[in-house]
Structures are given as C-alpha cells and as structure tokens.
Symmetry: C2
Subunit: 312 residues, 2 copies
Amino acid sequence: MQVSQKPRIGWIGTGVMGNAMAKRLFQSGYSLSVFNRSRSKALPLIELGASWCDSPAEVAQNTDVVFLMVGYPSDVRQVVLGTNGILAGWRQIKPEGVERVLVDMTTSSPQLAREIWRILADDGIEGLDAPVSGGDVGAKNGTLSIMIGGKKEVADRLRPLFDCLGENVVWQGEAGSGQHAKMVNQILIAGNMIGVCEALLYAFQAGLDIESVFTSVATGAAGSWSLSRLGTKIIQGDFEPGFYIEHFIKDMGIALEEAKRMDLALPGLALVHQLYLATAAQGNARLGTQALIRGLAAMSGCRLPLSSPKEI
Amino acid sequence: MQVSQKPRIGWIGTGVMGNAMAKRLFQSGYSLSVFNRSRSKALPLIELGASWCDSPAEVAQNTDVVFLMVGYPSDVRQVVLGTNGILAGWRQIKPEGVERVLVDMTTSSPQLAREIWRILADDGIEGLDAPVSGGDVGAKNGTLSIMIGGKKEVADRLRPLFDCLGENVVWQGEAGSGQHAKMVNQILIAGNMIGVCEALLYAFQAGLDIESVFTSVATGAAGSWSLSRLGTKIIQGDFEPGFYIEHFIKDMGIALEEAKRMDLALPGLALVHQLYLATAAQGNARLGTQALIRGLAAMSGCRLPLSSPKEI
C-alpha cells in the first residue's frame, strides 16, 4: 500500500456531482475529509469511510489537496477566503515539504479564479481552476471533461487525481483559463439550445411529424449533442434536469460579465440568457435546460404537444 | 436496357448543386433535358450528353419528371408558373398514361410549395417539394438528406430517382412539409452558428489556446457538426463558402415569414438573421456561413487572430 505517499484529499461541496466525484477518489485509495453546508448530503461519503469536518478550515488542516465543487462564485469566495475558510485553515498549519493545492471544480468566474490564485500564491499554496462538463453521468463514470487553469506543472503532478475523475483532462493555460474554457463550452450550448428549442417549436406548430423531421435533420449539418439528447427529451415531454436552468443562467451571466470586461458584445448569448431568465421566472428554474422550449412556447401562447400533464 | 421505361428527366437550375445532382441521374441511365438561366453553367452536363432546352417550357414538353434547383422563391415561381414556364410547357402536351411530376429541390417557401401543388393538381400534374441538406459534397456523392412534401405515393414512385441523389430520403407529409422540415434544419443551424462564432470569438479574446479548447469542448455536450466542421474552418482562417451567407439569409427569412404566419415568435432566429444581414452588409455575402464571426468581431472592433491576410 502506498496510501501514505498519496496526498490527503479534502472535498468541499457534496451535491450530486461532488458526491460522485469524491467517491471515485476515495475508492481509488485516497483518504478523504469532507465538508458540505448541509451535512446530510455528505452522509453517503461518511458512511463509505470519509471523515467529516465541521468547516472548510478543518478540511484544510487535515489535507494536502482540497477540491471544491460548490454552487456560485460567492460560495467559492466564502469557502476559500471567508472566516473558517480553506485559506484560514491552511494558514494555521505549515507542513514541511508538502505541496498544498486548492482545486476549484465549480463553474465560476475566471476573474475570481485569478484573484484566488494570487492570494494563495502569497501563502505558498497552489491553485487550479478545473471546471468540468459531462454531468452526473460523467461524474459517476469518471468520464468528465476537465478544463484546467493554473501552473502546468501543478496540473501534471495532480494528473493521477484528475484521471480518477475524467477522461478528457486538458490544461488550458494560466489561472482562470479553465473557467474561460468552460465559458466557451457554455456559450456553445446556449446557441445549440436556442436552435433546438426554436426548431422543435416550429416543427410542432407546422404540424410536422417530429420523428420524421428528426430522421432528416439529426445526423447532418444541423446535428448536435443538444439535439440528439435534449431534443429527444423534449419530444418525450421529459423536462427533468440533467442540468438545472438556474445553474445555466449563472454560467451565462459569468460569461457575459467576462465578455463585457473584454469589451466583447455577445448578442446571441445575451438573448439566450434573457430567454432563460424568462423561462425561469415562469417557474421552471429547477427544470432541465431543455425546458427553454416552455418559455418560448409561453411567449407565443403555444401549447406544447407531446407534453406531460403538468405542461403549459 | 430498360431506359425506355424510365421517366424522361428534366433539370432546371445547374449551379454547383444542380450540376452534381443531374449528373448522378444521367449516369444512372436516365435521359436528361436541361435548362439554366446562363447556359454556360449547363455545359458540363451538355458535354456529358444532356439535351439543352431554351426554356423551362421546352424542358417540360420533352420530359415526364422535372427537377428544379434554383435560387429564390421568386425564381421558383417564375420557372414554374411564368411565361415559358414548366406549367405552360406541360399544358401544351397531354400524353396518355404518363405521370408528370414537378420536384422542387430548391429551399423555398412552404406556402409557395402548397400554392404550386394546388395549381399543378388542377392540370393533373403532381408536385413534390424536396429540399436537401448535405451541400456540394453530398450532391456529388449522392449522400444528401432529402426532405419530401407532397403525396406519399408519388414520393414512393419516384424513390429510385431520389435514391440516386441522397441516402437519407424521408417523406415529411403533405405539400410544403419538405420545405418546413428544411426550415427546421436551418433554424437548428442558425442556433449552432451563433454559438460557434460567439464561443470562438470569446476564446480568441480570452487568449485561450484554441486547439486546447477544442479538445475540451468538441466531443461533449457542446459538440455539433457546425463546431467540428465550420469551427475548424474559422480557426484555419478559411471563409470559403460551403454554403453562402446570402442563401442562408434567404432561408432564415423564409422561416421567419412562416413563423409569423403561424403566430410564432422565434427571437433567436430573428437575431441571428439580423446579425447575418449585418455581416453580409460588410461585404461578406458570398462567403461561407462561418464568416458570421467576422460580423461579430467587427461589431466589437476585434481583430480576428489566425486570420488570412484579407481579414478584418
């Protein structure tokens, strides 16, 4: 057993994604200390053998590499820099010759990632931003796409950990670059989703046979992951979340803020963001992103066919 | 030889698509009469052995099935219903026991397709709308996706002809349904393209290494045909047309007009349409649809990296 030579792992944020990812690390033989705002969500990991900590600071004090998978940039800031945060914990203990790394896997602000990287560096602590795509299925199966920003050599040293979590692990550049790459991912999805939802709504309204249309368009120049997976869900009247609308709104908001900072207008993304806000305002915030079609349908007073009883 | 039992084929509109498609029919053993506004573009087919006709009417008089692949709905109307049009030609000759069919493969208006279908029916002539996707490569290799509207039994009888041209041949419903399905295809592409162009522009501006970003995003939930094919062209600075911006503007205009007729707001498509109009207005109308990124870059005064010398 080489467990003793392995870094001790901390994990903060044990929602659906965090739980599945931390479990993979634990099952690969890493020791695991966990914290979550509500302890109940960490129970599956605790029952597995992970150690519960009462604060992010306590996680930090007991571990060398702390992973973060929380909700919003404000949560990241609080957990890392706040009272009883990770930095506070690590500042109380300075082990000799042990590298300490914070790996933030939350989809968060590139600017915040840079700010945190700089603050940690002052204390001799390394920081990586490493948001993911691939959803709960990818988290469970270890097939996530992981986009890493920060020092390349630090990312390389942590490669065995990342390889437990994902199969498309790519270093994107300096601190914040992982978050930027994730924003690129989300801008692409925003475009795909408006296309899918407007196209299917058009098809419904035109009275087309939706299966026939799918056969014609899904595998050619109009094809996309969003159409194949989420378009199919729409047709089945399935609006269960693979990815919550409210989280997607957060991501698009970050991308628009960053684009503004870069003096870059993104009119398509801005419109999709607004349409998702409207869709959320109609009570759909905790549905999957494919429920955008509900917002669009409501806008024109359309009834969606092939719909579940709870439909508009 | 069963050539005598095969329908005599007419082909009107011998641009890049029409030329390749008509050639496939000719090489499958069908007799071919052709007309094009400018004769020079029909020369490759004439040299192959096709008969030149001086008008659409003359094509009609010499053939049983006439295919159309022209530019705009106004062209379709003129060629079918105008002086020396197909209908005028067929009205002068009424062969016994021979079915006459007009197959319009132009991407055109669903309403016009219905109007033509009704007018033809009054003369005992069948009409099919059968727009395609798959581009010049699909036309050349016979791998097009063909979306057919009109009577199913007519589409079935012409199946051997369609099978020469495409490999994803789907009957979509009554007259106009082929065009509607094509509109669904184009609405999907509009969404994909705004996503691809804004995402890549963001990536350029954020200073990301574009190959690394591609590796992270191209095969996951953000993936699409547009990203893989046209995104790659953008990165290479290749704005050569696979599909002209001016034609895409036409298609989106038709879709918006149809949506208006159905009392359906499509805000995403409307915005993309406007952005393509602006991109065309800047002198890019005869570039490929991927040149939308030029219009977006110009809007924010960005310089595109990885660009050819003619770049903004």
